[in-house]
Amino acid sequence: MSDPQQDLNRDLKQLIIDALGLEDIGVDDIDDQQPLFGDGLGLDSVDALELGLAIQKRYGIKIDADAKDTRNHFSSVAALAAFVTARNAA
């Protein structure tokens, strides 16, 4: 039986890989809690914009790039999943 939370995490990882053209990386290489930016996965500010666009397209969520808490929502796959779940429930 599949866990919807795990499915969402997995979807988000695949979205990150596809949208950002990560070569030689699979969904299993990204940890749910791993920081996406800086020292973690190593994404940068252009990636943040690209990922925001991909999430907007995939989940129909509008993301305010200037909002204070946007940075937190993008900190890890787990944080992104929580954000997507909360916004879809709203």
Binding site: G21, L22, E23, D47, L49, E50, L53
Partner: protein, 264 residues
């Protein structure tokens, strides 16, 4: 063309000659090393066979190997950027600071076409595509990935980008650079441009390590008559002539004619 100041003309390009009654200049330089890449044309032996007229298969890998870069750095490199890096990287080996002249007539046409298609479909634009579609994006990536802060220039100079790029390189040599890297590359544009773009027989890149010297002499002048478009892009024509051992040849682009001479 930026940065080609009058001072450079005076100090280095100075040898004025009369050609058809019009005052012209001669530049001299060495081409210490070259590298070239096209689908199916990878090794010097491949290019030698091509220069002697043998047919090559364009069906081989459409993108060169840039595995010398980590995956996280490769991911933003388009095919055009990969070609530029594949020919330029080995030439830059051992140079701590190496100015770069990048010349491409058509640039990142696949990226710009993708952006235009999104615009036409009223889709939001990809920030990555947008930021990497500009003509100097590749030299920006080169600078970041190599930690290179020397002067770099990106030019789009119609059909004689090779010669315009060498003029730029000669000016940098005149300012004291011990060597200049010149990269010429063209990507096969999306098929939608077929009716307008007829000077890219196949995707190709040529890298030249240009150093001070007298090996080559290049002089611009007016073309005698309105000439036909060249059979090969100048970069490929230069390579073919060089590999065939031709010491004197002319490249004509519309009203401009460039005379190449190599010291035998």
């Amino acid at each position: 063309m930026p940065t080609l100041s009058g001072r450079c003309y005076e100090s280095f390009l100075g040898k004025a000659v009369l050609q058809g009654g019009i005052k012209s200049t001669v530049i001299t330089f060495d081409i210490s090393q070259w590298r070239a890449w096209a689908p199916g044309l990878v090794t010097p032996a491949d290019w030698q066979a091509w220069a002697q007229g043998s047919r090559h298969s364009c069906s081989e890998a459409a993108s060169p190997d840039v595995s010398f870069l980590p995956a996280m750095q490769r991911r933003r490199l388009s095919n055009l950027a990969r070609m530029a890096f594949a020919v330029g990287w080995p030439l830059a080996e051992g140079y701590e600071a190496l100015p770069l002249v990048f010349a491409s007539r058509h640039g990142e046409t696949p990226r710009t076409f993708a952006i235009l298609s999104d615009l036409a479909d009223q889709q939001p634009l990809s920030p990555t595509q947008f930021s990497l579609s500009v003509h100097n994006a590749i030299i920006g990536l080169w600078s970041i990935l190599r930690g290179e802060t020397s002067e770099m220039t990106a030019i789009a100079a119609a059909g004689d980008g090779l010669e315009q790029g060498l003029l730029e390189a000669a000016a940098l040599l005149a300012e004291g650079a011990p060597a200049v890297l010149l990269i010429l590359c063209e990507e096969l544009p999306p098929a939608v441009y077929d009716a307008w773009v007829d000077d890219v027989p196949f995707a190709y890149a040529l890298g030249l390590l240009v150093t001070p010297g007298q090996q080559w002499q290049l002089s611009p002048g007016p073309a005698a008559t309105q000439s036909l478009p060249p059979a090969l892009p100048h970069a490929l024509s230069w390579l073919q002539a060089t590999l065939r051992g031709v010491n004197c040849f002319t490249h004509t682009w519309k009203r401009r004619s460039w005379t190449w001479q190599r010291q035998p």
